[in-house]
């Protein structure tokens, strides 16, 4: 099988689920005729018709709300946010209606909200955000953020098949950057399971999304300095895979947390809190976070570069921590 990009992996996963299950359908802005701002759904309208690929009005709250209503009737909607930054316009429907429905009323709301997030493309403060932490803080939602084409493929399938509202954060910087050969049609990646992306013994980097690539680069560089780094790709940022998180710290005793999102109450805060509470005995050093600073995402390339974490910043922090 040929290698496909991260974007094609998502697209393939979506298409196969649409083929597999009639109740799966897609809605969003410009996803039909245009195929989506990033062309993730290009060709879908032709293949599945206007009843299953719906160009909506410019109304994020209606998109999310309609997805919820249809899910309650047994459909499996996949709603696209043109950019994940716009999810804030559907926030109330997500956190109050979708997230709490099963707990309150025992009614499953099988739906996916997906779209491009993240920086690195000079998109400015409103086309570069990583809004996953707000939702990871909201009981009743599941939140995933794949870092590779294979995971993107396996997780979109699991997200669609899950009986809960799942937020699926694609990273737009990875869309056309990473390539992998995909496993077969039956492949899925379980939600709630992290992945050890690289084994190591001296220090664990906990990360997800784009920063997996940057962490692996950092690990590779530090291997040359005789520091053995384990990289745990969280994949699902809520609910977290505590088992894998704790298993790794047992081995390495040092934790470096890396994410692209801003620092305060980013997902890394929860990882740190879990480690500090449940693995205190195993820790041989402070739990260090490498993240974006607490600012909006700046636009101009030198500013954005200063803002974003990257392999170099990870190396510097890991080196210090390893030497602790």
């Amino acid at each position: 099988m040929a290698e496909v990009t991260y974007l094609e992996a998502i697209k393939t996963g979506l298409r196969e689920e649409m083929q597999r299950d009639e109740s799966v359908y897609m809605l969003g802005e410009d996803i039909g005729v245009y195929g989506g701002a990033f062309k993730v759904t290009a060709g879908f309208l032709d293949e599945f018709g206007p009843m299953r690929v719906i160009d909506t009005p410019l109304s994020e709250s209606a998109i999310v709300g309609a997805a919820i209503g249809s899910a309650l009737m047994g459909q499996r909607p996949v709603a696209e946010m043109q950019f994940m930054d716009f999810i804030t316009c559907g926030f109330n429907q997500i956190v109050n209606m979708a997230a709490k429905m099963h707990y309150r009323n025992h009614l499953p709301v099988p739906m996916v909200i997906r779209g491009p997030s993240g920086g690195g493309t000079h998109g400015g403060p409103f086309h570069s955000q990583n809004p996953e932490a707000w939702f990871a803080h909201t009981p009743g939602l599941k939140v995933v953020a794949p870092s590779t084409p294979t995971d993107a493929y396996g997780l979109i399938k699991s997200a669609i098949r899950d009986n809960n509202p799942v937020l699926y954060f694609e990273h737009k910087y990875l869309y056309r950057r990473l390539k992998e050969e995909l496993p077969g049609r039956d492949y899925t990646v379980p939600i709630g399971k992290a992945r050890v992306a690289r084994e190591g013994t001296d220090l664990t980097i906990y990360t997800y999304g784009w920063m997996v690539e940057q962490s692996l680069l950092a690990a590779e560089q530090l291997a040359g300095e005789d520091t053995s780094i384990e990289v745990v790709d969280l994949r699902t940022v809520h609910p977290l895979d505590k088992e894998t998180i704790l298993r790794s710290i047992e081995k390495t005793s040092k934790a470096l947390i890396v994410h692209e999102d801003t620092r305060t109450l980013g997902v890394g805060a929860e990882v740190a809190a879990i480690l500090a509470e449940e693995a205190f005995d195993m820790l041989d050093g402070p739990i260090v976070r490498v993240t974006a600073p607490d600012t909006p995402v700046p636009f101009s390339p030198p500013l954005e570069q200063a803002f974003l974490p990257n392999a170099e910043k990870i190396v510097a922090a890991a080196r210090r921590l390893a030497a602790y």
Binding site: G65, A66, G69, G74, N92, N96, H102, K142
Partner: protein
């Protein structure tokens, strides 16, 4: 008011059913307010007084396969639909109950088989949700219609707009009823919008608008039946404004001193249930004895249900943490 009295298409039995369901709604409401004063109800009580005709008339015009998303003054719609009265009362008493197990309050209940979508407190939210249910019906090749409600205050939420426009743009089988009871909590209509009639909103979405006397259960029924017919044949949504008056405070701990007494008197004289009762008696469809019998039956039914509900246990504390997520695929 621009209500046209439509040709009477309802049978005697249908009319009596409407009357009975309004009576039942009223009796439950009275009972709940008594329980509230006795300190037995946990949480706020939003009285249904004044809303019986809208709620009962609208829900009665639907088929069982249609989808209903009631709001907080739609006890009547729940009862029409066959939601369980005993369980509803257990819910208000914070007891263990099949709907929410005590996890949620008020009328935040639903049932997948009865096609009732649960509301939440955040107003307006049900509008896009019901539109989505209408979409699902269309996708599945059903000829079902989705109906939901909104208050004269909540018409100013973003979700009113996004939801109604979504339904209109997609020409979905969707009906939205504005329950205009002239106040949103303490805020009178004149401070909510610059509109004289809320039905004017319809033209901003390219959907037909109908204004009815919300205290005339038959008028409400007919308007919804007509809208449902339009929806079923693919002619898209209808916006209905049903005008009534909130006859009590926003909730039972609001004495509503901001409401002019004359307004309450005026609307008190137009009570939807008394009015229907007079009609049925005047037109000889029901005898005073029939009416008395019905009322006694209903009083007994509600008493029994309330007793049952009071006898239910509170939920087990341990159950608080279960069921955040649905299982499986």
């Amino acid at each position: 008011m621009t209500t046209e009295t439509p040709a009477r298409t309802l049978s005697r039995q249908q009319l009596i059913d409407l009357y009975r369901l309004m009576l039942l709604t009223r009796e439950v409401d009275n009972r709940v307010r008594i329980l509230y004063r006795q300190g037995k109800v946990t949480g706020g009580v939003y009285s249904q007084l004044g809303h019986e005709a809208i709620s009962v008339g609208s829900a009665s015009a639907l088929r069982p396969t249609d989808i209903l998303a009631p709001m907080h003054r739609d006890l009547g719609a729940h009862l029409v639909r066959g939601m369980d009265l005993r369980q509803i009362l257990a819910q208000l008493l914070a007891r263990d109950n099949v709907y929410t197990g005590g996890r949620d309050n008020a009328l935040h209940i639903g049932d997948q088989h009865l096609r009732v979508i649960p509301q939440i407190s955040h107003l307006g939210v049900s509008i896009p949700v019901a539109a989505g249910a209408a979409l699902a019906a269309r996708q599945r090749g059903e000829d079902s219609v989705a109906l939901t409600y909104v208050g004269d205050g909540a018409i100013n939420t973003g979700d009113f707009h996004e939801g109604l426009n979504f339904a209109a743009a997609l020409r979905l089988p969707f009906i939205l009823i504005i329950e205009n009871n002239q106040f949103a909590y303490s805020t009178p209509l004149s401070q909510q919008t610059a509109l004289d009639q809320l039905v004017r909103r319809a033209s901003g979405y390219g959907v037909p608008g109908v204004r009815v006397d919300g205290n005339d259960v038959v008028a409400v029924y007919e308007a919804v039946a007509a809208a449902a017919e339009r929806a079923r044949v693919g002619d898209g949504p209808t916006l209905i404004e049903a005008v009534t008056m909130r006859m009590r405070g926003h909730s039972e701990n609001d004495n509503a001193s901001y409401v002019p007494k004359e307004l309450l008197e005026e609307w008190g004289a137009r009570d939807p249930i008394e009015r229907m009762e007079r009609q049925l008696l005047d037109e000889g469809m029901m005898s005073p004895d029939d009416a008395a019998r019905l009322k006694a039956e209903i009083a007994a039914e509600v008493s029994q249900a309330a007793d049952w509900a009071e006898a239910q246990p509170l939920p087990e504390p341990e159950s608080a943490v279960a069921g955040v997520y649905a299982e499986g695929e």
